[in-house]
Symmetry: C2
Subunit: 265 residues, 2 copies
């Protein structure tokens, strides 16, 4: 069902298969059949999440280097896996892009995606490639967690402490910088160029949070394994909006000490 004049779907898939995936025993059969096959360890359950990133809605090609887009598309899904206290095991990528971007742009996007796969040891087990006017990625990510141990939104209890990992608003600050200063994509095509263009460490941190996020996957798993959290959520809409989801699902209320929230430097 694919229209792809420049490079064919099969050429693009070969490009992906040319890179050795990280090893993960959860993947019994990877790219190349009608389905991938995953196994779950006895006593474990599978967590799964799917997220779309769409050009001009979730990102602008003008600011977002394809390698960063590939990286970020996996990172945001792994953040959902980690928010359940689960360990990421595999992912799928459904990618649609205009025929004129199936060359260098595709290669850089896929390399960014596979760099993230390597970084978190999450093999790309399958997917779909299609054409479209605007770039669109749907990433489905899988995780594993001991039965009954996933940290649900409904798990919060009276007496729990509300705690945040990472810096609230940092990614938003990065987006603001990009919107205000509109850098040329060529100035921001690699991690090194990002540092240089940012000029100050604070600005670089904000830009990285937006363009090359590193969800705190190991930290979230550690919290779950050590029974240190009853409930977790991936903060994407802001502290109050996302805390509200936990409160509603758990049937509890929360008190936030506004002074404890430090504004970004």
């Amino acid at each position: 069902m694919c229209t792809m004049p420049s490079r064919t779907e099969f050429e693009l898939i070969s490009r992906i298969r040319g890179r050795k995936p990280p090893n993960n025993s959860a993947v019994r059969l990877g790219i190349g059949d009608d389905c991938a096959i995953l196994s779950t360890l006895p006593g474990n359950e599978l967590t799964v999440t799917t997220d779309m990133l769409i050009e001009d809605v979730d990102f602008r090609k003008a600011w977002m280097a394809p390698a960063f887009l590939g990286w970020k598309s996996l990172a945001v899904s792994l953040s959902d896996i980690a928010a359940m206290g689960a360990t990421p095991t595999a992912c799928l990528l459904a990618l649609a892009l205009p025929p004129e971007l199936t060359g260098r742009y595709f290669d850089q996007l896929i390399d960014g995606f596979l760099d993230a796969c390597d970084f978190w040891a999450v093999p790309l087990a399958g997917g779909d490639i299609s054409s479209s006017e605007k770039v669109c990625l749907t990433v489905t990510a899988f995780g594993t967690v001991p039965k009954g141990k996933a940290l649900r939104r409904s798990g919060a209890r009276p007496g729990d402490l509300v705690a945040v990992m990472g810096e609230l608003g940092l990614s938003r600050r990065g987006l603001q910088i990009l919107e205000e200063e509109q850098p040329a994509i060529a100035e921001l095509a690699s991690s090194e160029e990002l540092e240089e263009w940012a000029q100050t460490p604070e600005r670089a941190r904000a830009l990285r949070a937006h363009l090359l996020p590193r969800p705190l996957v190991a930290e979230a798993i550690w919290l779950g394994e050590n029974g240190l959290a009853h409930s977790m959520i991936d903060v994407s809409d802001g502290l109050l909006a996302d805390l509200q989801h936990i409160l509603e699902e758990s049937g509890v209320a929360a008190e936030i000490d506004a002074d404890s929230l430090q504004p970004l430097q």
Copy 2:
């Protein structure tokens, strides 16, 4: 990460959650958390596939009623699950559409999708909703199969019979009718209207194959359970192209008796 002026993301999710999903013990946690949680029966493996349908690439809004689009988007993914000899257990839907389609169009699309979920007893366990200029759906479907029993493309052996279920080219014939006659969407918005507009049973069959496909899920599972097939594939690019995938992966050759292929009536 959602921009949705007309109905909010949360209103759309409520609309989906308003319909009771079919029961399936594989889904431990459905819509409403950072991830869905799935369990696999002991001794079983999970099969998973993801497919995109994109407006003006895979379908035209002018011919494809939203209810048919919803139905078809699940059907094509279940066809991949069935091609492994696996039993479908759950699905995820990532849906992007223009803000002006979040009313009636969204409702009909979701109802078509959930009708297919009911028909195949496959609960919608989660997903993502976003906005876009063109309608875009990514469906991820899950299945379960006894360990080592999935029918892979690599399983064909010398002496195997090449057999086809369904009628080759029927969906393509349906597409041709639509392209040539360009019916108004209002004439083709329900199964009954399709029958009426088609005029003859042959034309209705072709239109249904394209707009409201029913992959032979039970038949494929039966073939697998009874050890009657060594290898299977979902035919979407045509007999020769898709057979070629089996031959390459299995390291075998095939002989096709052209006279055995009956042209469509």
